[in-house]
């Protein structure tokens, strides 16, 4: 079946270091979304990417969608303790149907 994998599964960084999580789909996606889930919380929508090769920025966060629309990445510059949480990508495999990635749990050490 369709799968969306993320690496790494866990990442511990010192505050101020950069962080990147990668998302890979077994099939071509029509679009991809990114969510953040704080410990004990619920996923919160961050962004959607639609076009092949698209790059979007939100302050210290940079999101990319691969040329083949099968992979994506999220890069955080100069992490802060508020960045702690699990980051999920969600690939669109049909209208309104999203498969969530396995998630990357980020821990930021002060």
């Amino acid at each position: 079946g369709q799968q969306v994998m993320q690496i790494p599964q866990y990442q511990h960084v010192q505050e101020g270091e950069d962080f990147t999580t990668y998302c890979n789909s077994s099939t071509t996606l029509s679009n991809i979304q990114w969510y953040k889930q704080r410990p004990g919380g619920h996923p919160v929508f961050l962004i959607q990417l639609v076009k092949s090769g698209e790059v979007k920025k939100q302050k210290r966060l940079t999101f990319q969608f691969g040329e083949a629309k099968k992979n994506s990445s999220l890069h955080i510059t100069a992490t802060q303790t508020t960045d702690v949480g699990t980051y999920f990508c969600a690939g669109a495999v049909g209208t309104y149907k999203y498969i969530f990635g396995t998630g990357t749990r980020l821990k930021v050490l002060a």
């Binding site: 979304q33 996923p43 309104y96 149907k97 969530f100 396995t102 998630g103």
Partner: protein
């Protein structure tokens, strides 16, 4: 500040019992999703509705799970009979465009 609400927030029940989880989507949203989150399986899409009509429930165990939207302000997810492997956090999410707004979840423990 519009939010998706879910009840109950926590539920502990014995194996074999019926469990009903409720979700109130954000007013005006026409798409409603049910997800299940576990450590082992991550976030799994169980079912979703658009304009109250079920579009896809292929992620749901058909023999024991059912999802309905009796009206635009209420979505329900029912498990009958419940089993220990159903223990998870169940999230409801609603949307109008492409964004999904998640509720706080129902943490279900089946003993």
């Amino acid at each position: 500040d519009a939010r998706v609400t879910q009840t109950p927030r926590h539920k502990v029940t014995e194996m074999g019992q019926e469990v009903t989880m409720r979700c109130q989507p954000i007013l005006g949203h026409n798409t409603v999703f049910w997800y299940r989150q576990t450590m082992m399986q991550g976030l799994e899409l169980l079912a979703y509705f658009r304009n109250r009509a079920p579009l896809d429930d292929s992620g749901m165990p058909k023999d024991r799970f059912s999802a309905e939207m009796p009206d635009a302000t209420l979505a329900t997810l029912k498990i009958q009979p419940s089993e220990p492997r159903d223990s998870a956090v169940y999230f409801c999410a609603s949307g109008y465009g492409y964004e999904q707004y998640f509720g706080p979840g129902t943490r279900l423990t089946v003993t």
